[in-house]
Amino acid sequence: MEPLIEVRGLRYRYDDGTLALDGVDFQLFPGETVAVLGPNGSGKTTFVHHLNGLLAGEGFVSVCGLPVVKANLPAIRQKVGLVFQDSDEQLFMPTVIEDVAFGPLNRGMEATVAMEAAMRALGDVGLGALAGRAPYHLSAGEKKRVALAGILAMEPEILVLDEPTTFLDPPAQRDLAALLGRLPQAKLIVTHYAPFARALARRAVFFEKGRIVADGPVDEVVERFQWVPGTAPGM
């Protein structure tokens, strides 16, 4: 089976010289859901931003067989749907429907066709009724689902979610997990929240100081790094 995402020896330095990624190797296969765990600042977000070409480092990154280079970016950004951590930065249009239609319009669809694609995507996340609403009135959970709809409207093959449970209360987290569980795309979920990771993923990778230091079944990785909230061992 060909991997959907192939990363080999990825290195990335910030402008000030700090090494954010120090040689990352990774593969994502069709139908997989992989959790990306690790402490703050370990490079998780920097890593996922290389998958749709927002950042470009040294090494090899390819998506669905296409190397991540400038010429391939339009195609890659359709295949990789990135849901950002901050929904307010992602929902930048004045109404929900205009925002969800943003991606389809950029793909060159006619306005009416784009509108239909957007309504379908909103229906998929159960929020068709909110089409005319302004984003800043919505709850955190609704915003996250609208952001997801905006990605789904582009018909991606891979969903990448960066800390999707931030600001979500437990019911909203459960709803999101249920929704994601129903979607057929391969998924990469960056999360701090082990129960969420366990609910959706079978495999997990653990980032530390810019490298992947573990890659295996999610329960094992969580256990090995004690990646659960609560008292520290020995207290």
Binding site: L54, P74, E89, F92, M93, P94, A101, L105, N106, A134
Partner: protein, 240 residues
């Protein structure tokens, strides 16, 4: 918050809400120009303009008392100059300042209370407003509430850290504004990334504009005729 209330009004349903944004904008302009060019505000003139404004409120099924109350926000400034005019012996001007500023405010509220801002912006665009400007207004409005909330939190945080000495408070306020700037800049970066991630390549494409119909044309014609008739009945513009 004021703009939240206006926005709620604009999402309502009424014959006025259903009209094309361009027609409403042009009618507003006609009303404002007629009012502005009316030199002598007789009671009849005031009655005429007020009747048109109230007609708009009713047609838009907008809350009468609420709207009239909100328009009063312009009165403090006008009242100051009205008082000065009165003292200077120019009673007519005093009345004129108060009435014109107030009725203009009412008319503007009728427009924004019956037209969602995105529709209004697209309408103004097709009437010739530069697209870059309307897009900036659009984004400004989108993030106004979010960033204002942030500013509010910072203000409260600064208050609770409460230094009594003005020089320190000044420095704290400057620091807070600088941080707000930096976070806003970072937010703009994030928005840009989110746009790129969904295929943005330099041109913001928008959903189709609504087409104006016969009803809109009739509405505009009727409205402008009323305004012009009122204005001319109050003395031709070239004959003070």
């Amino acid at each position: 918050m004021h703009h939240v209330v206006i926005e709620r009004w604009s999402r309502g349903a009424s014959p006025l809400h259903a009209r094309d944004a361009r027609a409403k904008a042009i009618l507003l302009l006609a009303f404002l120009v007629a009012l502005a060019t009316t030199r002598r505000l007789s009671p009849a003139a005031i009655g005429g303009y007020a009747a048109l404004a109230v007609g708009g409120i009713l047609l838009g099924r907008l809350p009468l008392a609420g709207l009239l109350a909100r328009a009063a926000i312009v009165l403090p400034f006008s009242a100051t100059f009205a008082a000065l005019s009165w003292i200077a012996g120019d009673a007519a001007r005093a009345v004129s300042l108060l009435v014109k500023s107030y009725l203009s405010a009412v008319a503007v509220l009728v427009l924004v209370g019956s037209t969602p801002l995105p529709k209004l912006l697209r309408g103004l665009e097709s009437l010739g407003a530069p697209r870059l400007l309307t897009l900036v207004v659009q984004f400004l409005y989108r993030y106004l509430f979010v960033i204002s909330e942030q500013a509010q939190h910072m203000r409260l945080a600064a208050l609770s850290r409460g230094s009594r000495r003005p020089p320190l408070q000044f420095r704290a306020a400057a620091g807070a504004v600088a941080v707000l700037f930096a976070r806003s800049y970072g937010r703009a970066e994030g928005i840009h990334q989110a746009m790129l991630a969904r295929g943005f390549s330099g041109h913001i494409r928008l959903l189709a504009d609504t087409r104006a119909g016969l009803r809109d044309a009739l509405f505009l014609a009727a409205g402008v005729s009323l305004v012009v008739a009122l204005r001319l009945s109050l003395g031709a513009p070239w004959n003070p």
